[in-house]
Symmetry: C2
Subunit: 218 residues, 2 copies
DNA sequence: CATCCGGTCATGTGATCACAAATCCTGGCG
DNA sequence: CGCCAGGATTTGTGATCACATGACCGGATG
């Protein structure tokens, strides 16, 4: 019971299980946890200064979203994805995110495009610094910023679930990635947004989403 | 402690929280719970003869899947969907299920089509009997049987999540439905499967998925 | 008669404990 | 040297309890 200090971000309501859940979630989504490692409820509880009960809730919630794998005996690990599963999740990303981008297009004002360009420069910086976690984080921020304009919360939530499942593997993907080229597809996305070119946007998003995963599963 | 009798389906391993989860899940998916009603952890625990702990886990898991709504104070109710949300979920169904059907098409042998026709006659029977829950159950069984052939478990899981969110509202939808016509779109789906007609299949699935929800949100 | 305030009750949260099962380590046997 | 058995330990599960908070119902007051 030492972590009672408010992390300067939680205004008032911060149930313990929710704090644990959110922290673990972003960790997994950003690829900060390598696939296959085992987590223990007591360990998590100890790290966050809480008992097993909130730790268990957070873990089960993440398992329900596919972010963690529960063995038959209840042991919890971060999942190791098969190639088929990776391809399937990539197809899901394509399906969902193309639709989200398409819905965001008519609402994409100049202010949004500016923000996307700013984020994109951050992405490029992360690539040049070879910061894997930073790259994943800013890359997802780029996509989320665009999709928020689609006004489709359920669809966005599903896309985030897919990101979550891909998180640990994305990190491994980045490790194999030897290039330092800036995100070309992101520029195509921005260009299509500016031009109001829906087919071009769909194609650009599909390429951006598919390319990385392709080489991992190849 | 009345339901201690094994439901004749659980061989040995039946963790309490999992039993509670599965039971509540099918109840919700089949529309047996009307939207807006409140559930209590102690109430659920009492019904299943378990303590609050497994009940809480089951509820949180369902909430993570969007099947239940948690108020800010932790109160749990089955969600009441807005029209926008319903339209969005219908669009998700169309997106996911068209893809699933398309992937199932090349693997659809005659035995599968026979099974689909059998299930479809059950659907028709439920419609004629005005059995809302039975209709929803057999209708979902029809779709699931087809999509299982797609060999895409992650995609199927997402589709089921959408069904889950739509469950309580589907029941209300059926209440407004005055017709007793047999499922026309199901026959179109079967015909397209027989003919190996992919565009026709996509169209038929999209229509089947969209038509019902359209009149509810209209 | 509406409104606001009071307390009582129900409900979720989280800690702790007992228990069973799975895992792991170790020592002995082939 | 490899393999298996057996016990110690770790780990998840579920029950119970104390506590805080929000809901609900009552009456008193304007």
């Amino acid at each position: 019971m030492n972590q009672t200090a408010r992390p300067a971000q939680e205004p008032a309501s911060a149930p313990a299980h929710d704090r644990v859940y959110r922290t673990l979630r972003t960790r997994i989504m950003h690829g900060e946890i390598t696939p296959g490692v085992a987590l223990t409820l007591r360990g998590i509880g100890g790290e966050f200064g809480v008992s097993m009960t909130p730790a268990r809730e957070a873990v089960r919630r993440l398992a329900a979203e596919g972010a963690l794998f529960l063995s038959s005996s209840g042991r919890v690990t971060t999942p190791e994805l098969t190639n088929e599963r990776i391809e399937e999740l990539a197809a899901l990303r394509a399906l969902l995110e193309v639709e989200l981008a398409s819905r965001a297009l008519p609402r994409a004002h100049m202010a949004l495009i500016d923000r996307l360009q700013t984020i994109n420069s951050n992405v490029a910086e992360m690539v040049s610094k070879r910061d894997a976690v930073g790259y994943i984080r800013t890359n997802l921020e780029f996509h989320r910023t665009l999709y928020l304009r689609a006004q489709a919360p359920a669809m966005l939530a599903m896309a985030e679930t897919v990101w979550l499942q891909l998180g640990p593997t994305m990190r491994a993907l980045y490790g194999r990635l030897r290039r330092t080229d800036p995100p070309q597809n992101h520029r195509l996305i921005i260009a299509a947004l500016k031009a109001g070119d829906e087919p071009g946007l769909r194609l650009a998003v599909r390429s951006d989403v598919t390319q990385g995963l392709r080489l991992l599963a190849g």
